[in-house]
Symmetry: C2
């Protein structure tokens, strides 16, 4: 059984402020929890409603207790609290990095992290207006990829100033991204879902690129745009 204190503490991890305070985050479901453990994430608690999950820290709890802590509409069989890892925030300048300007939708952010993991992009730089990578919805949508990709909150303008790497920005009136030639490393900059890339960053873009459309949709989802561009680098 979970104590009231445990329930309160765990639920506080749904809020960024408390994730930063306790340096812990939650993940749900056997598959994601096992992958995060395999990636070396430090387990604080695992709770399960049956004995399928074999781990020394796993405690069996009731479904009613699980309902008190799940962040999902329909809970899975297991729930875990992990330590937020201390990651290397320095940039590997020999690789591509993704840079996100105020990506706010947790589903988009999780999908973007998962897509980076698929394409072998290991570092994502986020403006402070981005949804936090350890938000429960981001963790779930990332399908545990948040354990394999470094997501670093930073000042983007400063990042571009400090590193002499080409910036490819997804904009509305750039070069066709299929025709554009790409260097061996650099930054791919993706803007906010509604407003695109903020005005002050436009001057930093060396190669404005655009995904041409054949149909009528006004814009593409930010995760889709990211995937199409990363595919070109692959």
């Amino acid at each position: 059984m979970l104590s009231q204190n445990e329930i309160k503490l765990i639920n506080s991890l749904k809020i960024k402020k408390y994730r930063k305070k306790y340096l812990e985050f939650i993940a749900e479901g056997d598959k994601i929890i096992k992958e995060l453990i395999d990636e070396g994430m430090e387990v604080v608690h695992i709770f399960a409603i049956n004995d399928n999950f074999i781990h020394q820290k796993c405690r069996i709890i009731s479904e009613s207790d699980l309902n008190k802590i799940t962040a999902l509409q329909h809970h899975h069989n297991s729930f875990a609290v992990f330590k937020i890892p201390i990651i290397d925030v320095s940039i590997n300048s020999n690789e591509w990095s993704l840079v996100l300007d105020d990506i706010q939708d947790p589903g988009n952010m999780g999908t973007i992290i998962r897509t980076c993991d698929w394409f072998g992009i290991k570092q994502i730089f986020c403006s402070d207006g981005c949804v936090d990578a350890y938000n429960p919805k981001v963790v779930q949508a990332s399908m545990a990829s948040v354990g394999r990709v470094n997501v670093i909150e930073t000042d983007i303008e400063q990042l571009f100033m400090e590193h002499d790497l080409p910036v490819y920005g997804a904009v509305l009136n750039g070069e066709n991204y299929r025709v554009q030639s790409y260097e061996q490393k650099g930054f791919i900059l993706i803007g906010n879902e509604g407003h695109g890339i903020r005005e002050s960053l436009h001057a930093k873009i060396n190669f404005p690129i655009t995904i041409p459309k054949n149909g009528k949709a006004e814009s593409l989802n930010a995760g889709i745009a990211t995937a199409l561009i990363l595919d070109k680098l692959a």
Copy 2:
């Protein structure tokens, strides 16, 4: 002010059964509502909390009334009920069609519809296990593209039997989708988020295709996979 009956009726449209009964669906926010009107969708009601929305059917309601009907966590300024259009369910055999086998996540479905609209794909065939295209979350994620792309619920096996068109299926061990050559028309088949394409459909696939990975993620989001493949046809 909304009557109790109106509130009840509108809320029932969040459930597929009642959407089928009344042949109505809901959409929220000025931008999406205006685009749906522009696409010729028939308006049943528009409700707004201010007079920004100019339309003869628009009624001003209180924020508290809007809170009683919104399907969103944070309501927009306007809310509409539209008639579900009667669409042409026959297939245009001279074009590409997307075929979805049990896509269940509304965000994925909406993003896929929006992506089809971007790439000029005008028809999507869905198995009956797919989330309904007029689900409120699908409508919002589609960004009104549901008004421009025909989404048709059908028996997929029968669809493939009745049409002599090549079927390209996204599987785990197919030809590299970048190397694959594509005909001028046919079906692109995308499977369920968790289980992929159902076993009984595998025999119908003429060209199994795969998106190669450089990283470690076990799979790609279904919307992302769809976009990458549609991009190859563009």
